[in-house]
């Protein structure tokens, strides 16, 4: 299934819809994405862009209905994750692919000891005894900087940053090959965010895990990602190495995102927001999804959806103007 053995995950033409009685929400519209071994890829975009839906499709934990995967393939270790049985999926979920959820306050069971919650994940995927599982849980806690003596404490006895460490320990407990981190630091203070990002960086080096990092914070991307995919209205509009994208912003949406950030060294009195709002996902425009907000939109952009252009090796942009303007 995988065309390239350096790739751990290959998503092809993924389409996901949410169907309700009166509307169809086009959440993910033909996403192609590859994750190489050991790399961290950042999925960046605003609320409702479809970032979390992509991650949840990979693990097949979308709530169905209303969600429906309407097309595409997700290749992982020679299998199409969308085609295998639920039984096989269970062997992968939490074991080879694990997820860190956004909000550590709600991701843990409040009435179960944190140690037991981690041990449960280990026992699910390995045939080992209770005491072995407990021992490994202790190791995991220490790995994320929590003393193993806290095994028997409950989530409410931990602060927000500590809870997120527990969630990370749980995700890493089975030594996954791919980690999906959905806004892992958004609910945390900057100082704690710095601690958690630093720790994830170290763990990644130690364990060689590939990471899909979902975030809306371009600062976090600059800090931790090798590759970036900018998502807008369910499509990847710009894709490439962090290095190339940050130095050669090309899609008008990416440029707009950067311009709207308050700069620490700017002296200007006004920010430059992107005008307007994201299009209604139940009624996407026929042409480019960004055309209504784009300062450079032409008639062609309104009528036709642009093809993906490779502006530099590995740097893909879904825009008619890409490569033309420079």
């Amino acid at each position: 299934m995988l065309e390239n053995t350096d790739n751990i995950l290959e998503i092809k033409d993924l389409v996901v819809e949410y169907r309700t009685d009166d509307a169809v929400i086009h959440a993910v519209n033909g996403v192609n994405l590859t994750v190489k071994k050991g790399e961290t890829i950042g999925l960046v975009g605003e609320t409702g862009a479809g970032k979390t839906t992509i991650a949840r499709s990979i693990l097949r934990i979308l709530q169905t209905p209303p969600a429906k995967v309407c097309g595409g393939q997700i290749g992982f270790q020679g299998q199409d994750l969308l085609a295998i049985s639920e039984r096989e999926m269970r062997k992968i979920r939490g074991n080879k692919i694990a997820m860190i959820f956004q909000d550590p306050m709600t991701a843990l069971n409040p009435i179960e000891k944190v140690g037991a919650q981690i041990a449960e994940a280990i026992k699910q995927h390995n045939s080992i005894t209770q005491s072995e599982a407990e021992h490994r849980t202790g190791d995991m806690l220490e790995l994320v900087g929590i003393p193993r003596e806290r095994y028997n404490e409950y989530p409410h006895q931990f602060s927000g940053g500590m809870k997120q460490r527990v969630v990370i320990a749980m995700a890493l407990a089975c030594n996954p090959e791919l980690l999906l981190a959905d806004e892992p630091t958004t609910a945390l203070d900057v100082t704690i965010q710095a601690q958690v990002l630093e720790m994830m960086q170290e763990l990644k080096q130690k364990l060689g895990t590939s990471v899909i990092l979902i975030t809306h914070d371009l600062g976090v991307v600059a800090d931790s990602c090798d590759t970036v995919a900018v998502i807008y209205a369910g499509e990847i509009v710009e894709y490439g190495t962090a290095d190339h994208i940050f130095r050669h912003l090309t899609h008008p949406y990416t440029i707009g995102l950067f311009n709207s950030l308050p700069k620490l060294n700017s002296t200007e009195r006004r920010l430059k927001p992107i005008k307007g709002l994201m299009p209604d996902p139940t009624n996407l425009p026929a042409g480019c999804t960004f055309c209504e907000r784009c300062p450079d939109a032409t008639e062609r952009c309104v009528a036709q959806s642009p093809e993906v252009v490779e502006v530099a090796p590995g740097h893909l942009v879904k825009c008619f103007l890409a490569g033309v303007k420079e």
Partner: protein, 316 residues
């Protein structure tokens, strides 16, 4: 320029099972008319409590508040009514701070119905004017909050705060719940309003790049205390308190070239219940020494630049 707001030794303690929770502990500052004071700190440092206590949404435990030359430390009912007109607040979460059963125009009209002596018809005119001011199209007049996106909801929150033509607005994380492209629209709106209406803001946030952008002065809080206060540019160029330095170094910047040395603090903010008399940051501070166990005093290190650290001079 005259000080619009003067706060002296303000304290707000809450009773808790284990003792007194020192949410705001002896904070003093002045804020000039038309200026913005940014208040930053981690969650639980007391920044929201400070904003709410200043405008009497919470009763202060001790301390003085002077507003526009009047002492409003312990107002009676009539005085409080007047304070509500002059001091307003914009809340953090536009999803939960609006009544889901009130239409846009009803929500904006509400403060006018309670406070102004205008006739019903004039109130309608005034409501439409407010909608224009904050940039909500007329067609949303009868819409309900659930029909609107976060940016528009926050515009309603701003319109409500502006309705009584206040002098001073506490902005409690007004853009934290919004996406960056929308966040920029709202910040620009708030800056425009400040210029046109001569508003004074107290801008409470944990987002340091936003606060740099919008503030004239910045106050850094830690466990209920002010650890540093300085003009905005100076705070970012020459931070003196070890906590401020660590906080500033932790901001992730969206640039590959600007890789700064990051100070990773150990541990997290400690409990504000019955704190010890010494420096409250001591447990996480890499420079902590014996001296730090003594109570810290606020010193003016440079004109307008205050710091509460006994070792700031040696640290450079």
């Amino acid at each position: 320029m005259a000080a619009l707001l003067e706060v002296k030794g303000l304290k707000k303690y809450f009773k808790s099972g284990a003792g007194q929770l020192h949410a705001v502990d002896d904070i003093s500052f002045t804020l000039d008319e038309g200026k913005t004071l940014g208040v930053v700190g981690e969650s639980g440092c007391g920044k929201t409590t400070l904003g709410r206590t200043v405008m009497h949404l919470l009763q202060p435990t001790a301390g003085e508040i002077h507003f526009a030359g009047r002492d409003i430390s312990s107002p009676n009912k009539q005085e409080l009514h007047k304070i509500r007109e002059d001091m307003q607040i914009i809340f953090q979460d536009p999803f939960s701070s609006l009544n889901p059963r009130m239409s846009v125009s009803a929500a904006i009209m509400e403060p006018l119905l309670l406070h102004s002596k205008l006739k019903k018809a004039d109130i309608r005119v005034e409501t439409r004017k407010l909608m224009d001011t904050v940039g909500i199209a007329r067609r949303f007049e009868n819409a309900y909050p659930h029909e609107l996106d976060g940016g528009r909801r926050q515009r309603i929150g701003i319109a409500r705060a502006l309705a009584l033509k206040p002098k001073f607005i506490v902005c409690d994380e007004p853009v934290s719940a919004l996406d960056v492209s929308i966040q920029a629209q709202i910040i620009n709106l708030m800056l425009d309003l400040q210029e046109e209406w001569g508003l004074t803001y107290m801008f409470v946030t944990h987002d340091l790049s936003v606060v740099k952008y919008i503030s004239d002065d910045i106050m850094v809080m830690y466990l209920g205390q002010m650890v540093e206060k300085a003009p905005s540019d100076e705070m970012f160029e020459k931070p003196l308190h070890p906590y401020t330095k660590a906080l500033l170094s932790a901001i992730p910047t969206p640039s590959l070239d600007d890789k700064k040395e990051r100070i990773i603090m150990q541990g997290e903010i400690t409990s504000p219940i019955n704190p010890k008399p010494g420096c409250r940051f001591m447990a996480r501070c890499q420079y902590a020494s014996k001296k730090c166990e003594q109570p810290q005093t606020l010193e003016e290190a440079a004109p307008g630049h205050f710091v509460s650290c006994c070792r700031y001079g040696e640290l450079g």
